[in-house]
């Protein structure tokens, strides 16, 4: 018999090492801890949001080695050696990135809960396809639900960012 209020029986904990937004992290985590919970609870990176916890809504999207991934469907212990980038890592220390500026200029959000995942997914898209057409943008973002905007301004924002980024810096 244990005393109520005592710490939980030690679940299996594993040591995991990877980088988050360029900084090395080394933690002991329960095997069952999701990457989303790890980022939010253990690293206080609360910009990654959790909307469904079953891999459909895309709110928790992060980049793992440059590819978008659902952090609610990954376990933190699976990330050994990986490079994880969250919305915090895509935000410059001062101001906003061109993609973020475009989202703001186009009012490509309302409640803002899906927005970090949208920025991450759009980042991946623009890295692979610098000048996507509308259908390409809609296809690339089809894994991220937005309940507020009807997607119109999000598509506009990605088009705007693509146009700005495509102008070669001279």
């Amino acid at each position: 018999m244990t005393t109520p209020g005592a710490p939980p029986a030690p679940a299996e904990r594993l040591r995991v090492r990877f980088t988050v937004n360029g900084r090395p992290v080394e933690h002991e985590v329960e095997a069952r801890r999701s990457l989303a919970d790890f980022l939010r609870e253990d690293l206080a990176l609360t910009g990654t949001h959790v909307g469904c916890e079953h891999g459909v809504c895309g709110a928790c999207t992060v980049l793992v080695d440059g590819r978008s991934a659902r952090s609610c469907l990954l376990l933190a212990v699976q990330l050994e050696g990986a490079r994880v980038t969250t919305i915090e890592g895509l935000t410059p220390p001062d101001g906003l990135s061109p993609l973020q500026e475009a989202f703001r200029a186009c009012h490509a959000m309302q409640c803002g809960f899906c927005t970090p995942g949208m920025i991450v997914a759009s980042t991946e898209l623009l890295a692979a396809t610098p000048t996507p057409d509308e259908a390409g943008i809609r296809e690339a973002l089809a894994g991220n639900l937005c309940m507020c905007t009807g997607y119109v301004n999000i598509v506009r924002a990605v088009e705007r960012a693509a146009a700005r980024l495509a102008v070669p810096a001279r």
């Binding site: 244990t2 909307g51 079953h54 935000t91 703001r104 009012h107 409640c111 920025i119 309940m147 905007t149």
Partner: protein, 795 residues
């Protein structure tokens, strides 16, 4: 941004809040913590209807890391029942957890607070519940029968409200009519499902016997009142905060869950947070009522509408908090934008063994619009008229404004025929009709859908007198505070917490104009805090009410501060108040712009150098104002009432193409023309129109909470409850007319519900238009590819 003399209202100003949200720097409920925080999880019923024979939670309490366990019986012993919005005839005790009986799948029966959520969920598995299953009633018409299983045997019926309201000689008009169209339409259960789920954080301070809550509950005024009554503490010892809210759409009001957290926090002596998971959200938070509408529409041979008779059954599920709202809120607008002199409305509000119904974007009006606009489409075909022409012959026209509908709603302004004409023009209607005929000849299925709607804003709770026979709450009002701080910057708070409507920006624009400053000089408080925000029982983010009450509260409070600033400046400059204006951040002498006193200097006088104030003027620069919309009046002797107050309108026109091989439906074009009066910030307005229209598309084609006959929910994840994705919808093309409301302070109207009202009807009309030559009639939603495929096979 340049300094200017006002003119901020109406500008498409990029949003202040977007700057943080785009960087993931919003502060949502689940981002908040407290020292020694515990996490809660809830055990829920697997049965639609069952008696709880025995519930043993002792093993859960013994799990290491568990600090508190709450059963229904304990909750009933430690807290009072939840007070409904209005005590309807169905006021039976409703506790925050099921006590002796469960009435829908997902109803919470026990809760655990533990050191983390995983431990709390582990502990739930140790709770033993013995259920005795009871027959469940899932179909509302079955629930209305005398031999139906009863949710509440004490009531003797499942019917919360049944009444027939008649305005004018409906039977005479139907008898004299050249024809009567009779149809039955049904609507499914669906919900807006904000991406952030519901939740609460509760903390109990034993030293002062006070509770503090953080929650994304969008209707704090009502919720505080319920919590205080159930917890048995005065409202002065409840403090409630709303942080950033990740969408709400009406769905986020469930005081029961806040009460569970409060009882756990008091028992554990530590703060407790509970965040709903998505399955809980889809299963048990709330659904829009499913419903059945029998429509009789009497008409003359030329298409003139003479009478409308509607029998409307609202399936409330187990809703004891706000039953009858789906009925009451469509009563005044049941004839949509049409001039129909005689109207009968037979209301049924019925309990069943399903998730509680609740507010969902447009409450009831999407169904009103679906039924009426479907009837108009069918009547046009019957009469051989173009559907646009039938509407033209029946709209309330601009020169008839303000127009009072037979049940008592007042349509304040607008030009409904012109709205439709603009939509047809923007859609290029004639061209697409020709294209449709050409495609048909090639075996392709194109369909064009037209739907128009009124969009009401503001709620008058006096309408519930129709149900209860006496007035409890009534009217429509909101509260705001404007304060010029000692350094001259402006702070504003509002009883309505934003859930994505951009209040920090649009309210700053309004106040900037009143005080002659820039929006950057105005900080609007995020969310809500009952200790610093003025508020009422009616306060909250609901009912499309921002333009109806909130704007008036903000303008009123700012006007008081403005008057005081001018009075102080006049005294200091030894000049008449009438010779001063507020502009460019200062009180300026008209015609002599060099004679001026900066607002910061006036604030210094008001707070620091108070001997410099005019005689009789109190120190400080802070004002509260509560705006009560004068249109809200009691029910009259003929049972007419304005259950809603200010009416925007819209016309939708869309094009679908159906794949004859698979039944899949593609929306190829979608045009919205709307008129929400004066647009306070067009960027926000247009976003609302886009988003609400896609809610309508989702309801038309994808979303359904589908129950089996035993009351099991079959669509409890986003893998089977389908939401529109970016790839499912086209760009929504938007145009506008702007007929200001004569009854709101700045001429604005509601726009938040927007396309959710005509959207389902427009898409349904388009699908039917593509298939009408095969004899297809759309009577229910959603229209799935499977349904279309069956139609194509059957014909």
């Amino acid at each position: 941004m340049s300094e200017s003399a006002g003119g901020w209202v109406g500008v498409a100003l990029p949003l202040k809040e977007d700057a943080r949200l785009v960087a993931g720097r919003g502060r949502f409920l689940d981002d908040l913590g407290r020292p020694h925080l515990l996490h809660a999880a809830m055990l829920r019923s697997p049965h639609a209807h069952a008696r709880i024979v025995r519930l043993d939670a002792s093993a859960a309490a013994a799990v290491p890391g568990v600090l508190a366990v709450l059963t229904g019986a304990e909750a009933a012993a430690r807290s009072g029942p939840i007070r409904p919005l209005i005590p309807t005839t169905a006021a039976v005790p409703d506790h925050c957890l099921a006590v002796d009986r469960v009435r829908y799948v997902g109803e919470p029966v026990a809760a655990v607070a533990a050191v983390d959520r995983a431990t709390a969920e582990d502990a739930l598995e140790r709770i033993r519940v013995e259920y005795e299953p009871l027959p469940a009633v899932v179909d509302p018409e079955a629930a209305m029968r005398a031999d139906s299983p009863l949710l509440y045997p004490a009531l003797g019926t499942n019917v919360v409200w049944h009444d027939t309201l008649t305005y004018g000689d409906v039977d005479g008009a139907l008898t004299r009519a050249d024809g009567v169209l009779r149809e039955r339409f049904t609507i499914q259960r669906y919900a807006s499902t904000p991406l952030e789920t519901f939740g609460a954080l509760a903390e109990y301070d034993a030293g002062t016997d006070a509770f503090e809550f953080w929650t994304n509950d969008q209707r704090p005024g009502l919720t505080i009142s319920i919590l205080a009554a159930s917890l048995g503490v005065p409202q002065s010892r409840i403090r409630l905060h709303c942080p950033d809210i990740g969408g709400a759409f009406g769905n986020k009001r469930r005081p029961a869950y806040l009460l569970v957290c409060a009882l756990l926090a008091r028992a554990a002596g530590r703060p407790v947070k509970w965040i709903e998971d998505r399955i809980e959200n889809l299963t048990a938070l709330m659904h829009a009522c499913n419903g059945i509408m029998d429509v009789e529409l009497g008409y003359r041979a030329d298409g003139t509408l003479l009478a409308l008779s509607v029998r409307d059954v609202a399936d409330e599920g187990k809703n004891l908090l706000t039953p009858t709202q789906h009925n009451l809120i469509k009563l005044g607008n049941i004839a949509n934008g049409y001039r129909i002199p005689a109207v009968r409305y037979e209301a049924w509000s019925v309990l069943t063994n399903k998730c509680p119904s609740g507010a969902n974007r447009g409450i009831g009006k999407p169904f009103m619009c679906f039924a009426i606009e479907r009837a108009m489409a069918l009547l046009a075909r019957r009469l051989g008229l173009d559907p646009a022409e039938l509407r033209r012959r029946n709209y309330v026209t601009a020169d008839q404004m303000p127009y009072t509908t037979p049940p008592g709603a007042q349509y304040d302004s607008g030009d409904y025929p012109a709205t439709l004409e603009r939509a047809l023009e923007r859609f290029d209607y004639a061209r697409w009709r020709a294209e449709q005929a050409r495609a048909r000849a090639e075996g392709r299925l194109l369909g064009i859908g037209i739907a128009s709607s009124v969009e009401p804003a503001g709620t008058n709770l006096a309408s519930y007198e129709l149900v209860t026979g006496r007035r409890a709450a009534s009217g429509s009002a909101e509260a705001a505070m404007v304060r010029v701080e000692p350094d001259g910057h402006v702070r504003v708070s509002l009883g309505d917490p934003s859930s994505g409507q951009g209040y920090e920006t649009v309210v700053a624009q309004i106040v900037a104009d009143e005080l002659g400053v820039t929006p950057e000089a105005v900080s609007v408080a995020r969310g809500f805090d009952s200790a610093t925000t003025p508020w009422l029982y009616l306060s909250g983010n609901y009912s499309n009410k921002f333009s109806v009450t909130d704007v008036g509260a903000v303008v009123g409070a700012a006007a008081r501060v403005r008057a005081k600033l001018l009075r102080i400046a006049a005294h200091r400059l030894e000049i008449d108040v009438a010779d001063l204006e507020l502009r460019d951040g200062a009180a300026v002498v008209r015609g002599a712009p060099d004679r001026r006193l900066a607002i910061a200097e006036l604030a210094r006088t008001a707070y620091a150098d108070v001997l410099g104030l005019p005689p009789g003027v109190d120190p400080g620069l802070e004002a509260h104002h509560i705006h009560q919309n004068p249109l809200a009046q009691p029910v009259d002797a003929d049972r007419r009432v304005r259950s809603q107050l200010v009416f925007a309108n819209a016309a939708h026109c869309c094009l679908v193409e159906i794949d004859p091989r698979t039944g899949s439906i593609t929306l190829r074009k979608y045009v919205v023309v709307h008129d929400c009066g004066r647009e306070l910030n067009p960027l926000i307005v247009e976003g609302m129109v886009h988003g609400s229209t896609v809610h309508g598309i989702g309801a038309a084609l994808l979303e359904e909470f589908r129950y089996d006959e035993t009351g099991q929910l079959l669509t409890s994840t986003f893998m089977d409850y389908l939401k529109p994705t970016a790839a499912d919808v086209p760009t929504i093309e938007v145009d506008r007319l702007e007929h200001p409301s004569p009854v709101t302070p700045l001429g604005a109207k509601g726009v938040g519900e927007g396309g959710s009202i005509p959207g389902p009807a427009a898409v349904a009309n388009a699908v039917e238009d593509a298939l009408a030559h095969l004899g297809v009639v759309v009577r229910s939603l959603p229209i799935t590819p499977e349904q279309v495929w069956r139609w194509l096979r059957e014909t």
